[in-house]
Amino acid sequence: MYIINFAETVLNTNAKEGKTPMVKQIAIYGTYEAKVPVFQRYWKRRIDGVKQRYWKKTTRMKKVVESGRYEFHGKGKDLYKAIIKALQIMPKGFVDVSAIKFLKKPEKYGYEGEWVEREVKS
């Protein structure tokens, strides 16, 4: 009982201080080529008379070469599975996610594509 209370106190203290418990991560980074959806802009007049610009996702896809990065945290097996998945799913910019969450819904964090050879800094 004492141990449970102590653990709860530690967790609460960390939450209050805004600390994240996991700070050690495996990074997978580089340059990739992926097909991303094309966004189209359009304007709509608001009630107050101001013309507001909006973006809508079209069905068209375009090929882009970008650099991106995953920061995975979790246990060894999940990390391995996440890295295997990351060979096909390219990150949307900088993605910091737990390996389990990524494995549940990988398409949320990136697009399908492949890593290409380019100069990359750490």
Partner: protein, 156 residues
């Protein structure tokens, strides 16, 4: 000074045909990336920083010719971590280290490479000094985990 450490026994560096890089990221470990610097200079600055900030110990890894990584043992906050890296970067007058420091500030986490990269092999430990039971041990544990993943990737 001649430094050994890239002539490995394992075949980990062979046949790396993936175009991405695997690395280790941490906020609490003081890490330095010395590019285009001799081993003697790296050892001097690592030793000086260790003594000045009481970092207990360090290891030096050689990533390629005249490129070295340093990992210190004592656990620090992110604020102190960046304080130490900025101190070393400014005093040793290494523009590559300063650039690396800025990149880590943007990411809010220090990253060092573990996997091979193009023709460069995985970084190898070439020097150990002082204690190793805290952050150095953690780093080596995660490095081993990453290397196991690399081995599995090659086997698949």
């Amino acid at each position: 000074m001649k430094v050994n450490g890239l002539r490995g026994k394992s075949n980990l560096n062979e046949e790396w045909n993936h175009h991405f890089v695997l690395g280790y990221t941490d906020e609490e470990t003081v890490m330095l990336d010395f590019d285009s610097t001799s081993f003697k200079t790296v050892r001097y600055w690592a030793s000086r920083a260790m003594k000045w900030f009481k970092l207990e110990g360090f290891i030096i890894l050689r990533s390629s010719l005249n490129n070295y990584h340093v990992i210190f043992n004592r656990k620090v906050s992110w604020k102190e971590n960046m304080h130490i890296v900025a101190w070393v970067g400014l005093l040793c007058n290494n523009p590559m280290l300063e650039k690396w420091f800025l990149m880590q500030c943007i990411k809010e986490g220090s990253t060092l490479r573990v996997s091979p990269k193009r023709e460069k092999p995985s970084p190898r430990i070439v020097f150990r000094h002082g204690k190793e039971e805290d952050q150095v041990k953690n780093f080596l544990k995660y490095r081993e985990l990453t290397k196991n993943i690399i081995r599995k990737l090659k086997a698949d």
